[in-house]
C-alpha cells in the first residue's frame, strides 16, 4: 500500500518536471482581462507563431500572487487594465524592462513607460450615456454635479477602479477640494445608490430610473453588436453615447496594457506576444471584437465606435492620474459617495 503510494507520487513528480522541461515554445500569461477578451488575440498569436499560451485569469491579488511566487513564478506576460494597476506592478518591482523597436514604433510615447516596463495596448473612454430623447450634444464632466441633473444620474460604485480613475483625473485638473465638492454634487444628483456595472446604466436609463449616467465606451459597442442577444440592442437603443470632456481638456481615457514579468522563464516568447499585440492584426481585434480604441495610430475603430464621434484624449499624463488614485478612493469615502 505504502509502496504503491510512493510510486504514484514519484510518477506524478516526474510527469510534472517533464511538463516543465518541455516548456519551450510556450508562455504563461497572468491576466486580469477577462478570458473572452484575450482569447481571440491568443488564438491568432498561436496560429501565427505556434507558441502555446497557458493562461490564468486573476482579478484582485495578481501582484500579491506574483510577489509570493517570487523567482519561482512561471508568469511571463502580465496583462491588466487601468493605468494604476500597471504602475503598481512596476512600483513593486514585478516587471523587467523591454527594449523593442516594434513596440516603441507602434505605441505613442505617452502610452508606454519611458523605461519600457509597461505598454498600453488599447484605450477606452469614460463616457456619458444619455436617454435617447434628451436634447444633449456635448457634456463636460464638471456638469455631472450641476443641480439641473438632480435625481437623474446613474453610476456604479465610487470605489470601482473606473470611477476612481475618473475622480483621480478630476483631482489632477481641479485639485482635491474642488473634487470633493464635485463628488458631493454628483452624489446629490444620483437617482439610485451607486452599484452594479456599467451596462446597468443603459438598462436603468431604459427603465426610467435615470436620464444620464457614466460608463465606458466599449459596452455600447458590445450591446449594439447584438452579441449579448436582442434585448441588449434595446437597452443600447434607449441611450445615446456622448464623449464628455473636462472644461479645459479632453475625454478621460484609461488603458489596458501589458508588461513582461521580472522572472519570466520564457522572456523571448513574452516579448514576441507583446509585439504581436501591437501588430495591425491584433490591434484590429481590439477595435472590432472588443470595441476599444487601438493604441496604434492608423488602425480604424469599429464603425459602431466611430458613431460616437472623434475622441479628443485628455492631455493629462496617465501616471499622474495613477498617483491620485488613493486620494480619489478616500475622497469617495469622505463624501459617502456609495452610502
Amino acid at each position: 500500500m505504502r509502496g504503491k503510494l510512493l510510486g504514484w507520487i514519484g510518477t506524478a513528480l516526474l510527469a510534472q518536471s517533464a511538463a516543465l522541461s518541455a516548456m519551450a515554445n510556450e508562455l504563461n500569461l497572468y491576466t486580469t482581462r477577462e478570458p473572452k477578451l484575450v482569447e481571440p488575440l491568443l488564438e491568432s498569436f498561436r496560429n501565427e507563431t505556434g507558441i502555446e499560451v497557458n493562461t490564468i485569469f486573476l482579478k484582485d491579488g495578481l501582484p500579491e500572487r506574483l510577489e509570493q511566487e517570487g523567482a519561482a513564478s512561471p508568469a511571463d506576460v502580465l496583462m491588466t487594465v487601468d493605468i494604476g494597476n500597471l504602475v503598481d506592478l512596476v512600483d513593486r518591482g514585478l516587471t523587467r524592462p523591454v527594449e523593442s523597436e516594434a513596440l516603441t514604433a507602434a505605441i505613442p510615447e505617452n502610452l508606454r513607460d519611458k523605461d519600457g516596463n509597461w505598454f498600453a495596448l488599447s484605450l477606452r473612454a469614460r463616457a456619458l450615456y444619455a436617454a435617447e430623447g434628451l436634447d444633449l450634444t456635448s457634456f463636460e464632466y464638471e456638469d455631472l454635479a450641476d443641480p439641473e441633473w438632480k435625481g437623474r444620474v446613474c453610476i456604479r460604485s465610487g470605489q470601482h477602479p473606473y470611477n476612481v480613475a475618473l475622480t483621480a483625473a478630476y483631482v489632477t485638473h481641479h485639485g482635491v477640494d474642488a473634487t470633493r465638492r464635485w463628488l458631493e454634487g454628483v452624489k446629490a444628483n444620483l437617482a439610485r445608490k451607486p452599484g452594479g456595472g456599467d451596462r446597468d446604466v443603459a438598462r436603468d436609463i431604459m427603465g426610467g430610473i435615470c436620464d444620464i449616467g457614466v460608463a465606458n465606451t466599449y459596452y455600447v459597442g458590445l450591446m449594439r453588436s447584438g452579441a449579448g442577444g436582442p434585448e441588449q440592442r434595446e437597452w443600447a437603443s434607449a441611450i445615446r453615447l456622448i464623449l464628455p470632456t473636462f472644461e479645459n481638456g479632453g475625454t478621460q481615457v484609461n488603458v489596458s496594457g501589458a508588461a513582461v514579468a521580472k522572472h519570466a522563464p520564457n522572456r523571448a516568447e513574452a516579448i514576441r506576444l507583446l509585439e504581436f499585440l501591437v501588430s495591425d492584426e491584433a490591434q484590429k481585434i481590439y477595435a472590432e471584437a472588443n470595441f476599444e480604441y487601438p493604441v496604434k495610430p492608423g488602425i480604424p475603430v469599429s464603425p459602431l465606435v466611430g458613431e460616437f464621434g472623434a475622441l479628443t484624449v485628455d492631455p493629462t499624463d496617465l501616471t499622474a492620474i495613477a498617483r491620485e488614485r488613493a486620494t480619489a478612493s478616500k475622497l469617495a469615502e469622505e463624501v459617502g459617495f456609495d452610502n
Partner: protein, 541 residues
C-alpha cells in the same frame, strides 16, 4: 487503559495550526501597517459600514432563524400534502450562490424585467417612466435575498435535531397534555437553540463575508471597505487590520453565544431513539402549512433557478454551448470532491479529539479550526499565499537533492493550494456538523468501551465512526456545495489553465456579459442540487 490519546491531541493541534496560519499571516500584514488609516475610517466609513453591517446581520439572522425553525418544525412534527417533497426542497436554496441570486432578482424585478413589465401591462401604463416599483438595490433588498437563500443552514440542523433526539421529549410533553403552541414555545424552541445557533452562525458569516450580492445591490458593509482599502489604495496592511477587527467581532459573538448556552446539555440517554410521530393537519391548516413551506423554496430556489434556466436556454439557442464548459464542470466537481473528503476527515479528527483526550488543547483546537469561515474569502487566500509558497520553496529544496530541475511551486501549481484554501475555509462546517453528531453519542458509550480495554483509537473506530456516519455525510455534502460555489479563493489560487464554473461565470460578470455566464450559473446550481437533495433526504423525519 491502553493509550492516552496523545496522538489525537497532536493531530488536532496540527490541524488547528494549519487553519490558524493564514490568520497569523494576516495579523502580520496588519502589524506592518501604521494605524494612520483609522482616523479616516472613524470619520468617514465606520459609522455607515457598521450600521449597514448590523442591519444586514440582524435582518438575515432573524429571517434565517424564523424560516429555518418554523419550516423544520412543520416538516418534522406535522403531516400535510406536499410534505415529503417540501421536506427536501427546503434545502435547495443552498445550491444557489448569493451572487447568482442577487443577479437573478435584479433582472427579474428590474423596471424593464418580466415582473414589472407584466404589472404595467395589467395596469395600462406604457413606460416605466410612468410607473415603477421601488428599487431592490438597498440593504433591505439584500437582507431579504440573503435571508431566503441562507435559511437552510438553520433548517437542516434543526430538522435533524427534531428527527432524532427531540422525539422523546416532544412525545413526553404531548402526553402530558401540552398543546401545539405550548409545545413549540416551551419545548421545541429551547431544544432547538443549539442547532439554531450553529446554523445562524454559519449563515451570518456567509452574509458578513459576502461581496458579490453586496456589490450588485449597492450595500456598503465592512467587507466592502476591506476591498476598497486594499484594491484602490494599495493598502494591504490597512485592509488586514479591518479584517482582523471583523474577525475579533465574530469570535466574540460566537463566544458570547456559547457562554450563554453553557451548562445546557442535550445528549439523551443510551436508549433507542424513537421517530417522532407526526400530527396530521387537515383543511385550511394543512394548506397554510404547505404554503409556509413552499414560499421559501419558491423565493430562494425555484424563481431564480427557473430564471437561470430560461436565460441559459436562450443563450444556448443564440450562441450554442461553450465547448469548454463540461471540462470546467468536471474540474469544479473534482476540486470540490477532494476538498470535501479532506475537510470531513480533518473535521472528524478535530471533533473526536476532545472526547478521546479531554484537554484545553484539544478543545481550543476545535474552536480555532473554524476561524477560516469568519474571514472574507479573498483575504483568507491572501493570508494563505505566503504559507503555501513557503512550503513550496521547502519542497523544491528537498526535491533538489534528488533531481536536477526540481519542480517549483508544486502546491500552487497542482491545485493543492486551492484544496488547502477550501479546507481552511469550510472546515468550520465539517467540525460544526460532526460535533453536533458527536454530542448525540452519550459519553457513557466511550467510558464503557474504554473500560473494556479499547484504546482511544479503538473507541473512535468502533463507536464514533459508525455513529457519526450520518452527520459526516451531511457535513460533507454541505462542504461540497460550498466548494462548488466558492469564488474568491478559487480565483486567486488556482493553477494555470484551470477554470471552474464560478471563475468562468465571474469572467463574464466582470465584463458585464452576464448572459454569457448563465449556462455556467445554471450548472453551478444543478451540480449543487444533487448533494443538497441527498442531504435533505438523508434526514429521515
Amino acid at each position: 487503559m491502553p493509550g492516552s490519546g496523545a496522538g489525537w491531541q497532536l493531530a488536532a493541534m496540527l490541524i488547528a495550526a494549519g487553519a490558524l496560519l493564514p490568520v497569523v499571516v494576516l495579523a502580520g500584514f496588519a502589524a506592518q501597517g501604521s494605524i494612520g488609516l483609522w482616523p479616516h475610517l472613524l470619520r468617514n466609513v465606520l459609522a455607515n459600514a457598521l450600521g449597514q453591517t448590523a442591519i444586514l446581520l440582524a435582518g438575515v439572522g432573524v429571517i434565517v432563524a424564523v424560516i429555518g425553525t418554523v419550516t423544520a418544525w412543520l416538516i418534522a412534527g406535522f403531516d400535510f400534502p406536499g410534505r415529503r417533497i417540501l421536506g427536501w426542497a427546503l434545502a435547495l436554496p443552498l445550491a444557489v450562490p448569493t451572487y447568482i441570486v442577487a443577479y437573478a432578482y435584479l433582472d427579474i424585478l428590474h423596471p424593464v424585467g418580466p415582473v414589472q413589465s407584466l404589472l404595467r401591462d395589467l395596469l395600462g401604463y406604457s413606460s416605466p417612466r410612468e410607473f415603477r416599483l421601488p428599487d431592490i438595490r438597498s440593504v433591505w433588498g439584500c437582507v431579504l435575498l440573503l435571508g431566503f437563500v441562507l435559511y437552510p443552514y438553520v433548517y437542516l440542523p434543526v430538522r435533524a435535531l427534531f428527527a432524532t433526539q427531540a422525539a422523546n421529549l416532544l412525545e413526553a410533553s404531548r402526553t402530558l397534555g401540552a398543546g401545539p403552541a405550548r409545545v413549540f414555545w416551551r419545548v421545541v424552541l429551547p431544544l432547538a437553540r443549539p442547532a439554531i445557533a450553529v446554523g445562524m452562525a454559519l449563515a451570518l458569516m456567509e452574509a458578513l463575508n459576502d461581496i458579490g450580492a453586496a456589490e450588485f445591490l449597492g450595500v456598503r458593509t465592512l467587507t466592502v471597505s476591506v476591498y476598497a482599502t486594499w484594491i484602490n489604495r494599495g493598502d494591504l496592511p490597512g485592509a488586514a487590520q479591518i479584517a482582523i477587527v471583523m474577525l475579533l467581532i465574530v469570535v466574540s459573538l460566537v463566544l458570547v453565544e456559547r457562554r450563554a448556552r453553557r451548562g445546557q446539555r442535550y445528549a439523551g440517554g443510551a436508549h433507542r431513539l424513537l421517530p417522532l410521530s407526526r400530527t396530521r393537519l387537515r383543511g385550511a391548516s394543512a394548506v397554510f402549512a404547505a404554503l409556509v413551506c413552499a414560499l421559501p423554496v419558491l423565493v430562494g430556489f425555484a424563481a431564480p433557478a427557473a430564471y437561470l434556466a430560461h436565460q441559459a436556454w436562450r443563450r444556448v439557442v443564440h450562441a450554442g454551448i461553450p465547448p469548454r464548459i463540461w471540462v470546467e464542470a468536471g474540474q469544479t466537481a473534482a476540486l470540490a470532491l477532494v476538498a470535501t473528503l479532506v475537510a470531513v476527515g480533518l473535521g472528524l479528527v478535530i471533533s473526536a479529539a476532545p472526547r478521546l483526550r479531554p484537554s484545553p488543547a484539544t478543545r481550543a483546537a476545535a474552536r480555532i479550526s473554524t476561524l477560516g469561515y469568519a474571514v472574507p474569502g479573498t483575504i483568507l487566500a491572501i493570508g494563505l499565499l505566503p504559507v503555501i509558497t513557503f512550503a513550496d520553496r521547502q519542497i523544491s529544496g528537498v526535491l533538489g537533492w534528488f533531481m536536477t530541475n526540481a519542480p517549483q511551486l508544486l502546491l500552487l501549481g497542482s491545485g493543492a493550494a486551492l484544496i488547502h484554501a477550501y479546507v481552511t475555509r469550510f472546515l468550520a462546517i465539517g467540525t460544526g456538523g460532526i460535533e453536533a453528531g458527536m454530542t448525540r453519542i452519550p459519553l457513557s458509550f466511550d467510558h464503557a468501551a474504554r473500560s473494556m480495554g479499547q484504546s482511544p483509537t479503538g473507541v473512535f473506530r468502533r463507536i464514533h465512526l459508525p455513529l457519526t456516519r450520518a452527520s459526516m455525510a451531511a457535513a460533507g455534502l454541505l462542504i461540497f456545495v460550498d466548494c462548488v460555489k466558492e469564488l474568491p479563493a478559487t480565483l486567486l489560487l488556482r493553477p494555470l489553465n484551470v477554470e471552474t464554473l464560478a471563475t468562468h461565470l465571474y469572467g463574464e460578470a466582470a465584463r458585464g456579459t452576464y448572459e454569457d455566464g448563465s449556462i455556467a450559473a445554471l450548472l453551478i446550481v444543478v451540480i449543487g442540487m444533487l448533494p443538497v437533495a441527498l442531504l435533505s433526504r438523508g434526514i429521515r423525519a
